[in-house]
Amino acid sequence: MVLYALIAGVLIGLFYGFAALGLSLAFGVLRVVNIAHGDVIVLGSYLAYELSTQAHINPLFAIPIAVPLAVAIGMVFYRFVAPSLGRSKDPEMLSLILFFGVSQVIEALATIGFSVNQDTLLTGPVGNASVQIFGQSFPNYYPVAAAVAVPGALLVMFYLYRSRLGLATRALMSSRADAMLSGIDVGRTSALSFGIALALAASAGALSIYVNGGVSPSQGTDLTTTAFAVVVIGGLGNPAGALAGGLVFGLAEQFAQSYEPNWAGMVPYVLLLAVMLVKPEGLLSRRVRYA
C-alpha cells in the first residue's frame, strides 16, 4: 500500500504541479491570484471532451489546439484590462473582482453550452488497459498525466531559465519598476506571461477530465482551490515551487486516500496550514539577506 501511495502520489502530484504552474506564473508577473484559473482548466477539459466525443480525436490533441488559442486570448485579455488595473488605486482588489467576474461568466457559459451535469470520457487517453509500475496497477491516465506534465513543466522551466525573454519575465517577477529600468517592455512581457499561464491551465484541462473523473461547469472553484494550495505550499510566484507543491499535495492526498479515505480531502490542506506555520514563504522560496 505504501508503494502504491508513493507512486500514485508522485504521478498525480506532477499533474497537480503542472495544473498550478500557470497560476504561479500569473501571480509572479501580475501579483494577483487569477481565481478564474480553474475555470480555464474546465474549458480545456471541455475542449478535450468535444474532440473525443464529436470529432473522435484523442482528447490529448486538445493541448496543441489550446496552447496557441489560450496564449492569444491571454495576451489580448491582458492588453484589454491592464490599462484599467494601472489606473486603479487598488489594483489587487480590482483584479480579484475582475477574475471573479471572469470565473462566473465562464461557469455560466459552460452551463449554457454543456448543462450542469458532469461529462465523462469512457475511454482513457491510451485505451482502457491498466498500467503496471513496480508491480502496482494504475489506470493508464496516471502515467499519461505525468508524462505530459513533466515535459510541459520542463518547457516552462527552459523558457524561464534559459531564454532571454524568460530572464526578463523573472526580472519582472522580482520587481516591475527595476525591470522597466533594465529596458524591459513590461507590458509585452506581462501579456505573454499571462497568455502562457492560460495555455498551461487549458493544457492541464485535457488531463484533468481523467484525473478528476470528468468535467462540469462548477468544477472551476475546486480546481482553483487545489492549484492555490499547491502554489502556496511551494512558494507563491515561484514556478519551480509549484512543482514541489504539487508533489507534496499529491503524496499527502494519495497516502490519506490509501490509509484513511475519509480524510483524503482534508489532509493536503492541513499540510498547507503546517507549511504556512513553519515556512510561510513556501517550500522553495529563496532567502534574501538584509545586511
Binding site: 526578463a168 523573472r170 527595476d178 522597466m180 524591459i184 529563496r286 539577506r289
Partner: protein, 245 residues
C-alpha cells in the same frame, strides 16, 4: 550663494529637467525644479531625507508622472516616453536596492545589458568579469545572498553593463557601513574616468568628491545649483550639510 535657479541649458546638455512639478496622488512633492546634466558631467543632488531627491530621479526616468514641466534628453522631449524607452536611449539607473535579489549575479549583469542584445551583453559580461573579479567568483550566487556592499557592487556593474551615456544613482551609500561606502566610492571613481555622465542623489557629502557640480534640494525646491567649490563656500549650506561652522 550660486543662483537658486539652474543655469541656462548650454550646448552638450544631455538631460534637462525644467519646471518639474510632481508627487504622489494629490500630494505634490516637487515644486518647479530645474536640473541639467551635460555630456560627461558629474552632478550630485544633495538633500535631507524627504527633500525629494529620489522622487526627482523617478520622474526623470518616467516611473512617476509629471504634474508639470518638461524633460529633455539630448534636446528631445521625452516627458511622455515610457521608462524602458528612456533607458533604451542610454540611461542606466541604479535604485537604492540596485539588484534583483532572487536572480544570480550573472543574470543581474545580463539584465543590465538587456537593451543591447545577446551578443553585446555577452561581450560586456566578459569585460565586467575582468574588471570586477569578485563578481566572476560570485557569478552563480543569488544577488540577495550577498552583503550590502557586494550588492551595490553588482548594482554598479549592472548599470555599467549597459554602456550608458548617463548613469543615474539613487542613494548608493544607503544602508552601508562606512567601509562599504568607501568601497562604493572607489568603484565610482572608475566611472569618473569614463565618458559617461553621472547623476547621483545622496545625503552623504563624501560623494561630492566625484562631482563637478552640486544641486541642493530642500522641501522639493531648488536651493542651490553650482560648482562643488561654490557649495563649500556657502556658509549656510556648509553648516547644514557638512556640519561645520
Amino acid at each position: 550663494m550660486a543662483a537658486a535657479g539652474a543655469p541656462e541649458a548650454a550646448a552638450g546638455v544631455l538631460l534637462e529637467l525644467r519646471g518639474i512639478g510632481a508627487g504622489y496622488g494629490s500630494m505634490q512633492v516637487l515644486w518647479d525644479i530645474d536640473l541639467s546634466v551635460g555630456e560627461g558631467e558629474h552632478v550630485v543632488i544633495l538633500g535631507a531625507n524627504g527633500a525629494g531627491k529620489s522622487t526627482l530621479l523617478r520622474v526623470a526616468l518616467g516611473l512617476l508622472p509629471l504634474m508639470r514641466g518638461t524633460i529633455r534628453l539630448r534636446g528631445e522631449d521625452v516627458s511622455g516616453l515610457r521608462t524602458d524607452r528612456r533607458v533604451a536611449q542610454g540611461i542606466g539607473f541604479m535604485t537604492e536596492v540596485g539588484v534583483f535579489p532572487e536572480l544570480s549575479v550573472r543574470e543581474n549583469l545580463l539584465l543590465g545589458a538587456y537593451r543591447l542584445g545577446r551578443r553585446q551583453a555577452q561581450a560586456n559580461l566578459e569585460r565586467t568579469y575582468e574588471g570586477f573579479p569578485l563578481l566572476a567568483k560570485f557569478r552563480s550566487r543569488s544577488a540577495g545572498s550577498l552583503s550590502g556592499g557586494q550588492r551595490k557592487l553588482v548594482g554598479v556593474a549592472k548599470v555599467l553593463m549597459g554602456d550608458p551615456s548617463l548613469i543615474v544613482m539613487d542613494e548608493p551609500s544607503s544602508g552601508l557601513s562606512p567601509v562599504a561606502v568607501q568601497e562604493v566610492l572607489d568603484v565610482l571613481r572608475r566611472i569618473e574616468r569614463s565618458d559617461a555622465a553621472l547623476l547621483i542623489a545622496e545625503q552623504n557629502t563624501a560623494f561630492l568628491d566625484l562631482a563637478q557640480r552640486a544641486v541642493v534640494i530642500e522641501g522639493g525646491r531648488n536651493r542651490f545649483d553650482g560648482t562643488v567649490a561654490q557649495l563649500r563656500d556657502d556658509a549656510a549650506l556648509t553648516r547644514a550639510y557638512f556640519g561645520i561652522e
